[in-house]
Amino acid sequence: MTEHRAPVLDRRAFVRLGVAGGAASLVAACGWDGGNAVRPLLLDISRLNDWVGEKVLFSPTRLARTYSSAERSAMLPGYFISRSVPTLENPSAWRLRVDGLVRQPLELSLPELMAMPRVTYTVKHHCVEGWSAIATWHGVPVSAVVQRCRPLDAARYIRFVSFDSDYSNGWDMASALHPQTILAYGMNDNPLPPAYGAPLRLYSPTKLGYKMTKYLVSLTFTDQRPGGYWEDQGYPWFAGI
């Protein structure tokens, strides 16, 4: 029961209504990404979500579900940011460069990579757009390359660089060392097709598709968090699922 408190509460309610109305009109302001006032705040919260994703929710040992090859999707869209399919002029001269904060920099040819431990799995691909598709991938675990190049303790990230224009990604070490994170040179039992990142691409069923750098040229170990093609435009950096 309250008596005579109404005026105070009315004023409070008025303010609250104003806030509600203001925010509602912002919502209605066609396709607003937050503008210069709110967008930086949204990106800060996205960084917080990266931290939660990486440090709280991500398990370095939990494996994504695998499927039988009979469950493969009839199609899996591929894309690249160059105007046409990026291809190498001289494929046999291609080497994967491994450098940065490592004791042993490497230059690995495709036959050398194929001679390393091989992982094959049939997994579900999750695109940030919301679609998903099942395919089989085979390649060498990133952890096997890490064993060879022996990163320094200071190395906390890997920058994956491609020859698809300026496409690149940065990964945290724990995600890169996950047993299902591979450098794939094969898809659906065949050599990796050019449309899907030949000769070598990053693959992981624990990340969104845009984190899986195609058309790889180098892995650089670093102590600075590397940006990435989509990440620099505002997409979540961690993108672990």
């Binding site: 029961m1 209504l17 919301g130 672990g240």
Partner: protein, 219 residues
């Protein structure tokens, strides 16, 4: 007579929920546009009248996929906080007793339905809310919980694979997450119509806390 009906926590969380859910839906519609259907690539699709739909620009928030994702994943925190604050208040104050539909309310719900269908002349006795209201509110709490859980299951379908599997897989979970929106919208429209049709004074009560309407005995 002026009775105090809603604690400030209830009023604050009520309007904050309206704002936050509106923005969550608006950014969700922008996210939906990136892949406006449900089902694995190359596989069968879930039945939906919104296949390939683009919602009007005024209804979308974020400008493009990344902008919408950042809104969605930022606002999920205050929305969760507001939800927990509200539920915490209900538990601590004991008000959950007036809102939670329990098996013993079935009898009263039948009486209330009879009254609305004019099979019974007198309004059955009730507390703050009648059993049908309790049923509606309890359903909406469950729907809110489902919205959060399906959201988590889409956000981290590998880390929470058990949850994603529980909802029938990644695409099925997207499907439920999307349909919860329309149930919520339908609830809200009904809710607003009932406020104005039955007891307009309850709007003021949700703003100021004070109720001066025709059902003070329900408090």
């Amino acid at each position: 007579m002026n009775v105090h009906r809603h604690h400030w926590i209830v009023r604050l969380t009520h309007w904050a929920t309206l704002l936050l859910v509106t923005a969550m839906i608006a950014s969700g519609l922008q996210i939906y546009e990136a892949y406006a259907r449900f089902g694995n690539r190359g596989g069968p699709l879930f039945p939906s009248p919104f296949d390939g739909a683009q919602f009007p620009q005024w209804s979308r928030l974020g400008g493009w996929l990344a902008g919408a994702l950042n809104w969605h994943f930022a606002l999920m925190w205050p929305l969760l906080t507001v939800g927990l604050l509200y539920l915490g208040y209900l538990v601590k104050s004991g008000e959950w007793r007036a809102l939670l539909f329990r098996p013993r309310d079935v009898r009263g719900a039948i009486d209330m339905t009879k009254y609305y269908l004019r099979l019974r002349r007198d309004h059955p006795p009730q507390g703050k809310h009648n059993p049908l209201q309790k049923l509606a509110y309890t359903s909406i709490y469950l729907l809110g919980a489902l919205a959060v859980l399906t959201g988590v299951a889409i956000y981290k379908p590998v880390q929470f694979s058990w949850l994603t599997a529980l909802f029938g897989g990644f695409q099925a979970t997207r499907y439920w997450h999307f349909w919860i929106v329309w149930i919520f919208v339908a609830f809200t429209i009904t809710h607003v119509i009932l406020v104005f049709a039955v007891d307009p004074a309850s709007l003021r009560a949700m703003l100021t806390g004070g109720y001066r309407g025709k059902f003070p005995s329900h408090d």
